[in-house]
Symmetry: C2
Subunit: 459 residues, 2 copies
């Protein structure tokens, strides 16, 4: 890095908050996607003004800047540009305001998702999106990727809870996008333009979130299926049975096997297992919904249905689902967690297609899914050191995307586009959409300093 | 209108769908805001291609175009530019797809809100936003203004349900913004950029909406208060009691009096009445929540509480609220329905401020509110033929906005900015926000042909 730029950065953040040490650069070179590019330097950010000064500097010297939270992106959205600068936002980790009476919280971007919910729990409130990475991922990262999770079918995603953002624009000016109120239509919805924009339009430095009262009663059940697509049909029937489950997860046979190999949960190694949770303020409400769920499960040839309203028993049922991604990473050298979404009625067809693709290319695909909103994670498990296998994985991936889009679906429901899916954006979107995206990027960031190479943008 | 342009328009929409007859131009000159500007012509739109062709023509000849649904805007967002062209979107009124199994519907913009819900009811599903204008207002208008209503506290607003839009951009190209799936993060959230943009960025020609199962049980109650701000305190306590009511409406004393004058409902003419509804799939769930509500009401000195789970009794309680706006329009020559939102904990303070402002200027203000999300409608009732009174109303309005913003609130929660609040936008927003808005407008519509003079934009 140019010594003059280095000196300026040190002036902005202080010598203790700048690094170009190799060990740090290696740490900041990758995220959970497995992709990596080594930056020239990184700074630890402590306040909004530092972001503004860094971005002004970047605009003068035209160097790329990638904001970063906990680096749990599965699509490479937090991977920096080779030779660029990383803004580590984690030191901005204060909860600034808890206003239960206003049904909102104001937090800095470095606050960890689970920490926020731990702090809110004694008030009886929660921030519902529930990313699998919640133990470590930050609210800033959740906003940047519009994080979703296991409770999406009922509670939506991050986007549905963001009321206001403070954002530093690439030119260094500070934008307040919304209002600390439940409703606001005074002007364009700039808030949601930044949610999911993967740090390509501005750097979020403060987040105001709507929060919900915690539903006090839940009922949990698991159901096994001897046929994977049949489980998809059950999902579809549940989702139009007139209730909305708070959780509707699917695990397929390879996933169940992998869980058994790594834990003592002793799961039935059937074609698929569904994990369903219903909730409410009263047990009657949770149970009424579960009755509808069980009816739909029985109508669709569920083999074994286990139901409980006991927290400890529910925890056992959850253990398998929570272990799934972790145990899959142990099966082989590489895993690639895909993140397609199809219309709910097409879940069965997509699951059948995944089996098909897996067989055709002799590549192991283990599928977990937030099935209630059609969000399917085919996890491709392979040996990346075998070049033939690595090549087949590329075809597997392209075929998965192609099928999802043929079924009226989308490339990504919650992991984002990042670097990983950039080249597939034109499979889903036409030139009008992509031109508008590029126009917006150019409007906000004419020198393309912010997180370049992401989201299928030209810069 | 230039005869060449007229001829081109007739070529596009056909002679039966073009008008420059005075009677039509007068009809199209105003909306429910009372503002009016006479267009030079109007066309009835039947398909997407017609919109594209009209916008291309407008870009060549630089004439202003205002899309219009049912014209129920209370802020003038549907009032055309003097001498401009109105696009009446009402003929595009087909429900294109009802996919209960995918939890979505696809509709044309001219579909009426209530009609959609009547069609969905037999399936046990509904589109929750519930604008007071729902009997006539169109989905296109709901999208253009991000319409909300009495169920906002629990069910949110239009924005929370739009999955995908087909939009004709000012240059005539057709944009698809989202996906027919429950989740999608592949690219910037263009969908919500158009929701609430009041027809200034593009013309919506198709809308894909998420729908919800209808909760089958409701409990309704009314509570009277001898002190208006005290009712506001009750609202705040209800909203952090750990449940979310599906309805939490407030009517003040002038409103109750006006209802009594025009109906035989014989309401108690107290300082305020709250109307609360809780819902669920089971009666226990609705009742549990109502117990929490009643506890909060009692803690805050509610005078009389009437509770029912019977539909007919609930309808009586609703009758007053539904009549409110209509009866207020009969009290004097003019009404001005304001639409401020404050943080929930500030509702009491805002209500006290409204009483204060009303006294200070000797202007009648009748207040109804979607109190559960802090959305307050002070309805200013006055004699516009009295210039002194009309002048005082301007001051009343400015003082209301000033107070709302001092309390951390916003100019508009659901009526939009339109013409009416354009000049107040800089009271709420700083220059960075307004510059971004103008930048976006210029990116999409460089010739400023689409609905100029709205939203506080420069053009």
């Amino acid at each position: 890095m140019d010594s003059k730029i280095k000196e300026s950065l040190i002036n902005i953040v202080g010598p203790d908050n700048f690094t170009d040490a190799l060990i740090d650069l290696v740490s900041f070179s990758y995220d959970s996607s497995g992709l990596n590019r080594r930056p020239a330097a990184a700074v630890w950010i402590h306040n909004t003004n530092q972001v503004a000064e860094v971005l002004k500097l970047a605009n003068i010297h035209k160097f790329p800047v990638t904001p970063r939270g906990a680096g749990t992106s599965l699509s490479g959205s937090a991977v920096p540009q080779e030779g660029g600068l990383v803004l580590d936002m984690c030191p901005m980790n204060e909860i600034l305001q808890i206003s239960i009476e206003d049904r909102l919280v104001v937090v800095q971007p470095g606050v960890v998702f689970d920490h926020l919910n731990q702090v809110l729990a004694p008030y009886g409130f929660f921030f519902p999106p529930n990313p699998a990475s919640g133990k470590v991922s930050t609210i800033g990262g959740n906003v940047a990727t519009n994080a979703g999770g296991v409770k999406g079918a009922k509670y939506g995603t991050t986007r549905d809870y963001v009321l206001d953002l403070e954002v530093v624009l690439p030119n260094g000016s500070v934008l307040h996008t919304g209002s600390h109120t439940m409703k606001c239509v005074s002007g364009y919805d700039l808030t949601r333009l930044f949610v999911g924009s993967e740090g390509t339009l501005g750097v979020v430095t403060e987040v105001t979130l709507k929060i919900n009262p915690i539903p006090r009663a839940t009922t949990t059940c698991t159901a096994t299926f001897y046929d994977l697509p049949q489980a998809g049909k059950a999902v579809s029937e549940i989702m139009h049975s007139g209730i909305i489950p708070s959780v509707l997860e699917l695990m397929d046979s390879p996933t169940l096997q992998a869980v058994n190999q790594a834990t003592d949960l002793d799961l039935p190694e059937v074609a698929a297992m569904l994990l369903v949770e219903t909730d409410g303020y009263t047990q009657q409400e949770a149970d009424y919904q579960m009755d509808k769920v069980v009816e739909a499960l029985k109508n669709n040839d569920a083999a074994e249905i286990v139901q409980t309203s006991r927290v400890d028993e529910a925890e056992n049922l959850w253990a398998a689902r929570k272990a799934a991604y972790g145990v899959l990473t142990r099966l082989n050298y590489n895993v690639l967690a895909e993140d397609i979404v199809v219309p709910i009625s097409k879940v069965a067809e997509m699951l059948a297609g995944i089996l098909d693709i897996s067989k055709r290319y002799s590549i192991l695909i283990a599928t977990v899914a937030h099935a209630g909103d059609g969000n399917i994670h085919p996890v491709i498990v392979y040996d990346g050191t075998d070049s033939g296998e690595a090549d087949r994985v590329k075809q597997v991936e392209a075929d998965l995307f192609k099928l999802a889009i043929e079924l009226g679906g989308t490339l990504t429901g919650e992991h984002g586009v990042g670097i990983h899916k950039s080249r597939y954006m034109n499979m889903e979107h036409d030139s009008v959409f992509l031109e508008v995206m590029n126009g917006l990027k150019n409007l906000f960031d004419p020198n393309a300093i912010l997180n370049p190479g992401k989201l299928g943008l030209k810069v």
